[in-house]
Amino acid sequence: MTESRTYSFFLGCVMPNRFPNVEKSIREVLPRIGIELEDLQGASCCPAPGVIRSFDEPTWLALASRNLALAEQAGHDIITGCNGCYGTFKETLAELHEHPERLAEVQRVFKGLGIKFTGNVDARHLIEVIYFDVGLDRIRELVKRPLRGLRVAVHYGCHLLKPSKNRPWRRTQRHRFLDELVEATGAESVQYRDKFMCCGAGGGVRGSNAPVSVDIAREKLDNMMAAGVDAVINVCSFCHLQFEFSQLQLNKELGENRYNLPVLYYTQLLGLALGLEPEQLGLHKHVISTEDLLSRILGQ
């Protein structure tokens, strides 16, 4: 990384409204590694690709375009920490670039509303910016508190990787970038069964078919726990919600505390490795307690 670059920080819904602790960790960590954030004023829901796109695609396209237009007007590309929002923006941009008539359609909807939009803007996931622009070497240099001995399960999520035709990764499957980013902190990324499987939250399934959704999360959690990990590391506010809340729900159904796997967003893990205090990273505000994990890391 040579110099810092400013992005329009797109929050979405779940992160600011359900997991402000994750938002806090992003705001603390990104500027420290050379990524400057500027708030995107007046943004709405991305809107959610599994629900709103499923209900009325043209509305999804128009509202996504409005959010992109806000960034275009601010003069920065969007940065997001949610795989769903990322998917919405990537697919919207592809649709508008491949079908100019759809851009014209969106511009017609915007008529008289004072929104300038040409589609000349990009949207990136923060993990993409960290991996490609900051880079593993720089991360390793910045680590002050190597997380040696920590065994974690990484969860990539779906929309970060797929459709692979419209994603920046060098491969289409068996990705390694998140494992590498985790290992740059000194932690060990442990292999587990069906690592690339969905968390089960998307597509409106969590909202409308909770038992099916939670059971998908259970399968992933069981596989992670069978591998003997200390925490799950994710990069999506909706996957984060799914793993945090599903464990509560499963314990309630079981009548025992079987599911206690701390769920950390990548910037929380990285922040610890950079030497930040747990409170700066919102780690005291988790649904599944991080207390034991932290005392191991901080050696208390």
Partner: protein
């Protein structure tokens, strides 16, 4: 076993809408006709692992033109849009896109799950499908974040703009007018 115990599931002519596939193709599921019913999509589906939902079956029914059956099926809403089938289909059919197109058609016909209508109403009212609540407002304050995020939550003007867009695309009418016929 006698013949009388055999139930024949006969598809009647009136159940077949030959234009259904054309509509799907026009909306973007362009290769759907090339499906070879290999079942790869079903085999990689995380929802299908624990339910009777079979992605391949939905595609087959769509190809047969069984429009009503597909659009009224609750299975259509079991897809978590994980995109694994789209990625793995040997015919490169945009399977997930096809499901989303069929969901749009279902909603237009009034088939919408109550929880989904609720989320849509929240979006219309606040600009967010998952709006801020008191507990998280408090957490934001404790964390030293701007108490109300700098989204439509803190700008009435931005919210009005978002609502006007939803009025123009017909979303508000869609959510409010399909209430009776659905469910």
């Amino acid at each position: 076993m006698t013949d009388s115990t055999i139930v024949r599931d006969i598809i009647d002519d009136e159940d077949i809408d030959p234009k259904f596939v054309d509509t799907l193709v026009e909306a973007g599921a362009d290769r759907i006709r090339t499906c070879i019913q290999c079942g790869t999509c079903s085999s990689v589906c995380p929802s299908g692992r624990r339910t009777a939902f079979r992605t391949r079956e939905i595609i087959r029914k769509a190809l047969l033109g069984l429009k009503e059956e597909v659009l009224t099926s609750p299975d259509l809403w079991l897809c978590a849009t994980c995109l694994t089938c789209l990625e793995r289909c040997p015919r490169q059919i945009k399977v997930t896109d096809a499901i989303i197109i069929m969901r749009n058609m279902a909603v237009e016909e009034g088939f919408m799950l109550p929880q989904h209508r609720k989320a849509s109403r929240k979006l219309i009212k606040t600009g967010h499908a998952v709006p801020l609540d008191d507990a998280n407002r408090e957490m934001r304050r404790e964390l030293g974040l701007q108490e109300i995020p700098p989204t439509t939550h803190s700008s009435g003007e931005a919210l009005e703009q978002v609502q006007e867009i939803m009025r123009r695309t017909g979303f508000i009418d869609l959510i409010e007018s399909t209430e009776e016929s659905g469910q």
